[in-house]
């Protein structure tokens, strides 16, 4: 995804780009799958537009623990509910925080990329944050493969990237 972002960022910063091209570049960036342009700001993509916002800070271990709890059938119902509530109430911040991670921090966790290979989408190698945030964002319990949140996360991420205008 960073290649696509870099490409659109280059168009935004190119003085030879037409206003229409810049407008379409912003549209492409917003269409990557993020429902709020603040997510783009978090990556510094829209610096040229003067829309910079400091990326949110986030305790990722807490998020992942809550995520695991929310999906753990053996957890106490009250704990699952509380975890799910937190994730739902903070989903925007969580997604933004994941997506604000520098690229180098996006590797080292292959829980999702292994499934990515299986599904044939190696493009997501090293981007567990996208999978995790998408899985959280879309509340995979409501979707097919309820026991395979990672797989659903990848599918959703893929669809969201490849069909940016789709409403999943």
């Amino acid at each position: 995804m960073h290649l696509l972002i870099a490409a659109q960022k280059a168009i935004l910063s190119n003085p030879q780009s037409t206003p229409e091209q810049k407008e379409r570049a912003v549209s492409e960036l917003r269409g990557i799958g993020l429902k709020d342009p603040r997510y783009l700001d978090a990556q510094g993509v829209l610096e040229e537009l003067g829309l910079t916002v400091a990326p949110p800070s986030m305790d990722f271990s807490k998020v992942e623990t809550l995520y695991a709890t929310s999906r753990n059938p053996a957890a106490k119902p009250a704990d699952r509910e509380a975890a799910a509530k937190y994730l739902q109430e903070n989903e925007d911040t969580i997604v933004a925080a994941y997506l604000a991670l520098p690229d180098k921090q996006w590797g080292g966790d292959d829980r999702f990329s292994a499934k990515g290979h299986e599904i044939g989408k190696p493009m997501y190698d090293g981007y567990p944050g996208v999978f995790a945030s998408c899985a959280i964002w879309h509340q995979c319990d409501r979707l097919p493969y309820p026991d395979e949140a990672d797989k659903v996360g990848i599918i959703l991420a893929h669809r969201r990237i490849t069909r940016p205008k789709a409403r999943l």
Binding site: L3, L4, A7, A10, Q16, K121, I161, T162, P164, K165
Partner: protein, 81 residues
């Protein structure tokens, strides 16, 4: 970018064997103030590019030329893996 440089990048993009070389070529092309031609982007989309490259090329095509708004899907590529 000179015509020769452009041709070199085009050759790597269209016929390069290694993805990292093609990505580097695309990065160079992107960094150039001169946009890639519509024909080159169209040719690239006909290739069996890795997903990230294909999506980027498609996105570039939409941005530069405002066309081909149809979303790409790996299952519809000419030579799916």
């Amino acid at each position: 970018m000179t015509t020769r440089e452009y041709r070199t990048l085009r050759k790597i993009l269209l016929h390069g064997r290694r993805t990292k070389h093609r990505v580097a070529a695309l990065n160079d092309l992107i960094a150039s103030p001169t946009p890639p031609s519509a024909r080159l982007l169209d040719e690239l989309l006909r290739q069996n590019l890795p997903d990230e490259l294909a999506l980027t090329v498609l996105s570039l095509q939409r941005t530069y030329y405002g066309e081909n708004d149809a979303p790409i899907d790996s299952s519809t590529k000419s030579n799916p893996k």
